[in-house]
Subunit: 216 residues, 2 copies
DNA sequence: GTCTATACCGTGATAGAC
DNA sequence: GTCTATCACGGTATAGAC
């Protein structure tokens, strides 16, 4: 009692909820589990955040602004560096992805859990349409504009379908399911985010170029 | 009562469970909702399938064998056609994906729901490791072998990471969340599976070639 | 064998007392 | 901020109808 836990209870509730929602989804988690994980009483989550759904929203929103800022900064930095002709497809995708890698490799598991939660939401037919747009559309549209400039001959539909493929590859990476470990019999690891992005960037950039260059 | 519903109740339970699990996940669905959707009594699910988890498994397994067969057939057909030198990366990916498109476009929603359920499971850190391997590893390994032949200079890790990207793009497509509709302001539709695969095949094939050709 | 009605008992979210 | 009560709902078992 003399030594106070340095992390306030309110934050610990968010941390615990984040980890559990990411692993089991919204309905797979109870407030009691969250409270136990945070080392607080059940009712405290209610006191701070109201309903379970509001807590879910609060977790979702907590890190969004910071994440969006670092990705936008990365985009603007690569645009400034590229000068008038604008950055290449690779450079844009790099700016889209590397801030995630940095967040995932902070050592603190919070970001890893948060991004797994985004993967859960983005892949869900229920949550996806309800939650993704409000926080991420603005960012995505800015990246898509940049990609259109880098691929001036591309049709709009082609750009969007390519972005969809990129988003899918990213989502499965964020979900961090360990499936690639099994399939590759240990040659690759879901936790090796650097390897994931090192492959994803040239993979998707080549895909964009191929699809957006050809006329069907 | 004179006219009997042509679909037996046991199947209707599976159909209803399939649709609901795909939309809301395992914990987001109650047996009572499933029963209501099937137009049967709550206890009937228990009678036919036992525990909720067993019903989930039964849904997961019902269409798996048929799906695996049609994908393996497609692979063997393209291998036979290609002759000694073996099929190209595009042809292999085509064989991997097109049977899914055919299933999704039967008109009957069952396959669409089933494949959305696979997306849910594959993207879940909880269910993915527990369920994907048992039914799909054999198939995937056969496709990966074919890809290795088509890309003889590739390192194993590169092949697996490329497959991971393909799997992610596919998973998000199967999840059918409608997100691309919003982002593209109606120019693309999640329900347009043909467009999805028409783009995914050249996109991922180009990615495989790029990543598996270069030495880092 | 197939199916329904219903009861049981644990657990969940939430509100109100302190 | 915390503890506890409430009350609905969930999974599951049982009894028996057709």
């Amino acid at each position: 009692m003399a030594e106070k836990n340095p992390i306030p209870k309110r934050e610990r509730i968010l941390d615990s909820a984040e980890a559990l929602f990411a692993e089991h989804g919204y309905d797979g988690v109870t407030l009691r589990q969250i409270a136990k994980g945070a080392g607080v009483d059940v009712a405290l989550a209610n006191y701070h955040f109201g309903k379970k759904l509001d807590l879910f929203q609060a977790v979702f929103e907590r890190r969004a602004a910071h994440l969006n800022e670092s990705r936008i900064e990365a985009l603007h930095a690569c645009q400034a560096k590229a000068g008038k002709k604008g950055p290449s497809v690779e450079q844009i995708i790099e700016a889209f992805l590397r801030p995630l890698e940095l967040a995932q490799e902070t050592g603190d598991d919070g970001w890893r859990h948060y991004l797994a939660l985004i993967a859960y939401i983005n892949n869900s037919p229920y949550w996806g349409p309800r939650m993704m747009s409000q926080l991420f559309d603005e960012l995505v549209q800015e990246f898509i504009s940049a990609l259109k400039k880098a691929l001036p001959k591309a049709r709009d539909e082609d750009i969007y379908w390519c972005y969809h493929n990129l988003s899918g590859a990213l989502t499965l990476t964020l979900a961090n399911t360990g499936r690639i470990d099994k399939l590759s019999r240990g040659k690759c690891s879901s936790d090796d985010f650097q390897a994931a992005y090192d492959h994803m960037i040239p993979f998707t950039a080549a895909g964009f170029r191929k699809v957006c260059a050809s006329r069907s």
